[in-house]
């Protein structure tokens, strides 16, 4: 059965996310989506590239989506960019 898992990129070190993703692929997950917003977008790309080049070379980028999310804050709405990278094998 194909499972769909989502990894949200935050403040942890890059390799924590890479190892979480590698572990999931090694447990028969077929697809993982990496999601990030704002300055974490660069880290999401690092995570995807390191996973693909150093650990699981048969991975493919099935889709890469960019979007803008609206955040509600104390001082009104603000926009933040987001990325969704769908890795599959």
């Amino acid at each position: 059965m194909a499972e769909l898992n989502i990894i949200y990129v935050g403040k942890k070190p890059t390799m924590n996310y890479v190892l979480a993703i590698v572990t999931q692929f090694n447990n028969n997950v077929d697809k993982i989506t990496i999601k990030a917003r704002g300055k974490s977008i660069s880290k999401a790309v690092d995570i995807a590239e390191i996973t693909k080049h150093k650990f699981i070379k048969e991975l493919k980028y099935q889709s890469i989506k960019l979007d803008t999310e609206v955040l509600e804050g104390e001082r009104g709405e603000s926009n933040v960019s987001s990325i969704e990278i769908l890795l599959s094998r």
Copy 2:
């Protein structure tokens, strides 16, 4: 004639790049590629999203590519992630 232009994202403010892109599209350019490496990747996504949502709503993401580039430095090689966002209308 379709022209292909490339914008390299560096240390200038986000809006400088957005306005450069909008100006080019207004001068009959059909496609623009935004390229960035490392921490500038987040800024590249901001530039693309702001251009698309605030200025030229008919723009499409024709392709989004992630890659790893090898940089030669004084202390040997290092890897850096990169993004190429092809905007077209």
